[in-house]
């Protein structure tokens, strides 16, 4: 196998891991708690910006070729921890706006509007995160610490991604198998019945939004540290539907379904369409990406709404412990 191919495949593995974290976070919100979070990409974006602003030096240090707030020059892993915190904290105002008084369909609309507002804000306020041009020269973790080749650094970053995936798996698995996860699934099924049994459905949904937002923030932080640049064009609202499609195709409400969706949609479909020979007008292939993703989403909603790996039934044996099937 050539060095170039290994470099490409290790890069794909890093992207798969980053998508996996994001999709498991979305599964907590959408798959378990039933929150139609059409602003999910904003949580990833916020994590990305947080990691960038925590890692970058002040703008003056780079000759002010870009303008942004902060620039704290914090060492690894603080930018990633900051990304997790900002992703989680962002859930609080979003939840206050979208979850408190609105029914599920209106929640989806409110989320979509919030996503559009966030993009508009990031583009228009050039002093905030350098406007539409976005941030560049974002320092990578351990950069220069180990004297390794670009491929060698890829392996280091893949290791870091694997550790972050393990953390995301621990959070998502802990929640989904616990009594708390059962309550989230109950809220997804009937908010009124949950409240009639003494639980506050708003608090439950808010907790799921925060937990999922934190994982989205982590994925954003990791992505930004990998690609070293981040701008509004990287997180336009359709990106949320990429993750939603992955979850619906793979199967929501279970970790294996999310993992399969992460492999099939953002990696499989996107990479396959990129392999097509160029034809038509410039940008045709990019558009085909979205056509393929949209068609895939519709096909699964129509013919296999539970996805390739449906949510597991929790089976209890009489007089014995639980067993999943």
């Amino acid at each position: 196998m050539s060095g170039g191919l290994i470099f490409y495949l290790s890069g794909l593995a890093i992207l798969l891991g980053i998508n996996l974290i994001a999709i498991w976070g979305l599964d907590l919100q959408f798959g378990l708690a039933g929150i139609n979070n059409f602003a999910y990409i904003v949580f990833q974006a916020a994590g990305g910006y947080a990691a960038a602003l925590f890692a970058l030096k002040p703008a003056k240090a780079y000759g002010s070729f870009e303008t942004y707030i902060g620039g704290f020059n914090l060492p690894f892993p603080l930018p990633l921890i900051g990304a997790v915190a900002v992703g989680g904290l962002l859930a609080v105002p979003v939840g206050l706006i979208a979850l408190r008084r609105l029914r599920a369909d209106y929640q989806a609309m409110a989320m979509l509007v919030l996503s559009l507002i966030a993009t508009g804000l990031a583009e228009a306020q050039t002093g905030l995160v350098n406007g539409p041009a976005g941030l560049a020269l974002i320092p990578q973790p351990f950069a220069g610490v180990f004297p390794v080749s670009p491929l060698g650094y890829h392996w280091i970053f893949l290791g870091l991604t694997a550790v972050c995936c393990a953390f995301a798996w621990w959070v998502a698995r802990g929640i989904s198998r616990s009594p708390f996860g059962r309550l989230l699934r109950a809220v997804r099924e009937s908010e009124s019945a949950v409240s009639a049994l003494g639980r506050n459905p708003y608090a439950l949904r808010m907790t799921a939004l925060i937990a999922g937002g934190a994982l989205a923030g982590l994925s954003g932080g990791l992505l930004v540290e990998y690609v070293t640049a981040w701008g509004p064009s990287s997180w336009l609202y359709p990106e949320t539907f990429l993750f939603l499609t992955a979850l619906i195709v793979g199967g929501k409400g279970n970790l294996a379904g999310g993992a399969l969706g992460a492999l099939v949609v953002p990696i499989g479909i996107v990479e396959l369409t990129r392999r097509l020979p160029a034809f038509g007008y410039p940008g045709m292939i990019d558009s085909l990406d979205w056509v393929a993703i949209g068609a895939c989403l519709l096909a699964f909603l129509w013919f296999r709404p539970n996805g390739l790996i449906p949510e597991r039934k929790r089976v209890f044996r009489n007089g014995s412990r639980r067993d999943d099937r």
């Binding site: 621990w170 959070v171 802990g174 929640i175 616990s178 009594p179 708390f180 996860g181 059962r182 309550l183 699934r185 109950a186 997804r188 099924e189 009937s190 009124s192 019945a193 949950v194 409240s195 009639a196 049994l197 003494g198 639980r199 506050n200 459905p201 907790t207 937990a211 949510e311 039934k313 929790r314 089976v315 209890f316 009489n318 007089g319 412990r321 639980r322």
Partner: protein
């Protein structure tokens, strides 16, 4: 027995006191000046023609709808205006006019969600060691199996609730409410859409529960069942309480006969 002593014992026997309850939806007066008591250990019936305000009263007591005025006192505490989950935490658990089960959860999981709130349900417990919640979880699973055995429904324990018939969903809702160990059970037409044989089976279970000391307030249209189960019975019409008493007393009340019983409704 002195009048004072009688008053004190009556007060202690009252679990729920609804007083002057009113509710407007825009210009529509759904409930006006509803006043009645629910005594401990009884199944109090709430009957009346369609649109009388019975289900609205259940919604007002359970916190699902906020009243325009009036008070709801439960065990001496005013609970009016509290949100549904706050009301439920006082020990008031309700069922719904349309069976409201968690369709994507199994029957047994539905029952587990019915258990009173406990510490193991927090996100902190979910992210902590499993042993912090698994012991209590095992106890609750055993309790749920006991409830299922009592209703003879162990066979459907691991079925998704959405796969059940309407009557079975009613039973799941009732069993789930029992898992909460309520002090007061609000039943909104528990026999609606249920086959006659299943309705009789539910009625027998309710009598058993009453005999064990549980208090219930039940909206029901099927008057033969009301007669079998409920004493006293509160009659509502046009949003207000028309009369209260045993079915025998109500059947001789001309106002009640004219407003509701006269047409033989439900018989």
């Amino acid at each position: 027995m002195t009048a004072e002593f009688r008053a004190v014992t009556q007060a202690s026997a009252t679990l729920l006191r609804v007083e002057g309850l009113a509710c407007h939806f825009g210009g529509v007066l759904a409930v006006q000046d509803a006043t009645f008591d629910v005594r401990r250990g009884t199944i109090t019936g709430l009957i009346g023609p369609n649109g009388a305000g019975k289900s609205t009263v259940i919604d007002l007591i359970s916190g699902r709808t906020r009243p325009t005025r009036g008070s709801v006192r439960f065990g001496g505490a005013d609970i009016v205006g509290q949100r549904p989950h706050e009301v439920a935490r006082h020990g008031i658990v309700r069922t719904f006019q349309q069976a409201n089960v968690f369709g994507g959860l199994t029957v047994l999981e539905n029952l587990l969600v019915g258990a009173p709130p406990w510490r193991g349900e927090s996100i902190a417990a979910a992210l902590g060691p499993k042993r912090t919640w698994s012991g209590r979880e095992t106890e609750l699973v055993e309790q749920a199996w006991d409830v299922l055995r009592r209703f003879g429904l162990e066979a459907i324990a691991n079925e998704y609730a959405k796969a059940l018939s309407g009557g079975q969903r009613r039973l799941v809702e009732l069993m789930r409410a029992l898992m909460a160990r309520p002090k007061l059970l609000l039943l909104d037409e528990p026999m609606a859409g249920v086959s006659p044989s299943l309705a009789l089976s539910i009625a027998d279970r309710l009598i058993e529960l009453r005999d064990e000391g549980m208090t219930m307030l039940m909206v029901e249209h099927e008057l033969r069942l009301v007669e079998k189960l409920c004493d006293p019975v509160v009659v509502m019409a046009r949003g207000t309480v028309l009369a209260e008493g045993s079915m025998a007393e109500l059947q001789s009340n001309q106002e009640v006969v004219d407003a509701y019983l006269g047409g033989g409704s439900g018989r």
